[in-house]
């Protein structure tokens, strides 16, 4: 008689095992599938209004017709200025945490501050933006004030992803460089950063996606409900896609049903495209990695 025949107890266990595996798969699908049904619904409803004209003309007729061009351009402005501010600071912070900081109370406090920066409600960031940038520093409601608010809010995204990219560079690379007599900065500049560059870019793309979708922080700091011209500089107010979606779906009467679906589709298209790009980038990177 072969010794490895399943006992009755064993068979029952295996049945439970299979049952539980299916149960968890079901839970996973129940979480993920409804969202995709919703997304497909958004595409079906929003697709009819998609056209070059929709993307490249301004809203007309009290925002019940026309396109979204000023909002699109405004979002690009907001994201660009926010990145100019947060990428240098975020990368510096990540270099400090990964290459310089030792495991002491200060590092702990910094980590706690980063978690909190990500966890503070977006509307509190908006209040901060109003109190600090609009009023105290006197920028008024402007792209600058809104972008600084956005930049601070999304700083944790840059810090965390850059730190991960830096820490993925093997210690031996640094040690080899130090043994050649290079200073810490020379090592970072010529060995660590080049090897982490694509990882850092992945994080920045992710921040673009995050920044483009935010609404609450820009509502009172620089984004306007309706402004039919394009911003000329960082001290101008601007329309933004995210706020435009909020405005035409809640504040403006008699908007044709398809219009907000169109705006939602463009917004979600930008965000998901950026995220997919970042994920694809990361996958290629992982495959190409030599160490």
């Amino acid at each position: 008689m072969a010794g490895f025949e399943a006992s009755a107890l064993n068979r029952r266990d295996q049945k439970v095992e299979r049952l539980i595996r299916w149960l968890f798969l079901l839970m996973t699908l129940l979480l993920i599938l409804p969202v995709f049904v919703i997304l497909i619904f958004l595409v079906i409803k929003g697709w009819p209004v998609m056209s070059m004209e929709f993307l490249f003309t301004e809203p007309s007729n009290g925002m019940t017709a026309g396109g979204i061009f000023p909002a699109l351009v405004g979002t690009v402005w907001l994201v660009a200025v926010a990145l100019l501010f947060s990428v240098p600071i975020g990368v510096a912070a990540a270099i400090y945490l990964s290459e310089y900081a030792s495991d002491n109370w200060l590092t702990r406090v910094i980590n706690l501050a980063i978690i909190n920066l990500a966890g503070v409600p977006s509307i509190v960031h908006a209040l901060f933006g109003v109190g600090a940038f609009v009023l105290f520093f006197g920028f008024g409601t402007s792209i600058l004030a809104a972008s600084l608010t956005l930049g601070i809010m999304t700083l944790p995204v840059v810090i965390v992803s850059t730190r991960e990219a830096l820490q993925a560079v093997p210690m031996a690379f640094r040690e080899a460089c130090w043994n050649m007599g290079a200073t810490r900065w020379q090592t970072i500049r010529h060995v660590v950063l080049p090897n982490a560059l694509s990882g850092i870019l992945t994080g920045i793309i992710l921040e673009v996606s995050r920044t483009a979708g935010e609404t609450a922080p820009i509502m009172f700091t620089g984004a306007a409900f309706f402004l039919p011209f394009l911003p000329q500089g960082v001290f101008d107010e601007t329309m933004a896609l995210s706020l435009h979606l909020f405005v035409i779906s809640t504040q403006v009467p008699n908007v044709p049903e398809a219009l907000p679906y169109g705006v939602a589709l463009v917004l979600i298209g930008i965000v998901l495209a950026m995220n997919s790009l970042s994920i694809a980038f990361r996958t290629v990177l992982r495959r190409r990695k030599k160490w």
């Binding site: 510096a92 310089y100 910094i110 501050a113 978690i115 966890g119 503070v120 509307i123 109190g131 979600i268």
Partner: protein
């Protein structure tokens, strides 16, 4: 997180310093000027990078400071804290008797967040367990990417989904007059918080050493016995932290709740009641207030309350995770 490795960095640098020794020093001496230049650059960068490092601390204090600056005077002065926490009457624009009772707003936020967690916690933990313990290879990668994409959908789009897709659906399904309610915003918020909780919970499960699983399997445990008897208890703290951060996310969410909850001041008695959240109140009213007015300051007072609550939630989550690492 990077700290143990950074300690290694420091150690290695000292090691390198020792290795420089006598022979190398000679070659450096010829190059003295270049060396001092490099040394100054090195120090300069260290200072710059340090400033970047502490910037997060500066910004957190900045946020608290500026919100306090606008709202603290009002809390200390004309705001009746008893009324703030016990009265459901939020009527800051009333001309003869403005009242600032936040109870209904707190109840609104709590009911929406509570329902969201009730729906999202089981599914998030289930998904995390499936991805970390059961799924393999390509399926696991695909599921992780999908969860990540879910987390990317902007909150204003979620709000729009609540407003224009969920609203008519709830009206039809349950035969109720209004579909913008605790139920609507709870489901939306649950879908929003789930990806974050899933990701953190999955990290917590992955952090359980494989030797634990191997030991249990060697004793003849089946996969689910390993998961329930060994992995889950070992990852308990991380899972608690995941739920806490999900609660924090729900508590602070603004646009989706503003658009899907109905935005009427109400202590809910059923999931079909419309409510108004703390965050949504600030978002809806700040634009209409005059800078420096009592109403304006009262909104900043709500902001201080939100900041403190989320700070405590995040701090607790951090301490809970720390507890895991110490062990």
């Amino acid at each position: 997180m990077g700290s143990p490795e950074s300690a290694e960095v420091a150690g290695a640098v000292e090691g390198a310093g020792v290795a420089e020794g006598a022979g190398v020093a000679a070659s450096f001496a010829e190059d003295a000027d270049a060396r001092t230049m490099a040394w100054y650059v090195d120090k300069g960068v260290e200072i710059l990078v340090f400033i970047g490092g502490v910037s997060a601390i500066i910004f957190i204090f900045g946020i608290f400071g500026f919100v306090m600056k606008e709202g603290a005077g009002f809390i200390a002065g004309s705001l009746d804290l008893g009324e703030f926490f016990t009265s459901p009457r939020w009527a800051p624009t009333s001309s003869y008797n403005p009242t600032y009772g936040a109870l209904a707003l707190i109840a609104g936020t709590a009911s929406v967040t509570g329902l969201a967690m009730l729906l999202a916690v089981p599914f998030s933990l289930g998904t995390a367990i499936y991805i970390a313990e059961f799924a393999t290879g390509r399926i696991r990668e695909i599921l992780k990417v999908l969860v990540e994409l879910l987390a990317a959908i902007p909150s204003v789009v979620w709000g729009f989904i609540g407003l224009s897709i969920m609203n008519p659906l709830i009206i039809d399904l349950f035969n109720v007059p209004v579909g913008l309610s605790v139920l609507n915003s709870g489901i939306i918020l649950g879908l929003m918080a789930a990806p974050i909780m899933t990701t953190i919970a999955e990290d917590a499960l992955k952090a359980v050493p494989d030797t634990y699983r191997e030991a249990a399997e060697a004793l003849g445990a089946t996969r689910w016995q390993v998961v329930f008897r060994v992995v889950l208890p070992a990852a308990k703290n991380g899972l608690v932290a995941a739920v806490l951060l999900g609660v924090g996310r729900g508590f602070g969410e603004t646009m989706a709740v503003l658009m899907a909850s109905g935005h009427s001041i109400n202590i809910p008695t059923s999931v079909f009641d419309s409510v108004r959240a703390l965050t949504a109140t600030i978002a809806a009213e700040l634009g209409e207030t005059a800078v420096g007015s009592d109403h304006y300051k009262a909104l900043f007072a709500l902001g201080i309350f939100l900041f403190l609550v989320t700070f405590i939630i995040n701090l607790t989550a951090d301490l809970v995770i720390r507890g895991v690492r110490k062990r």
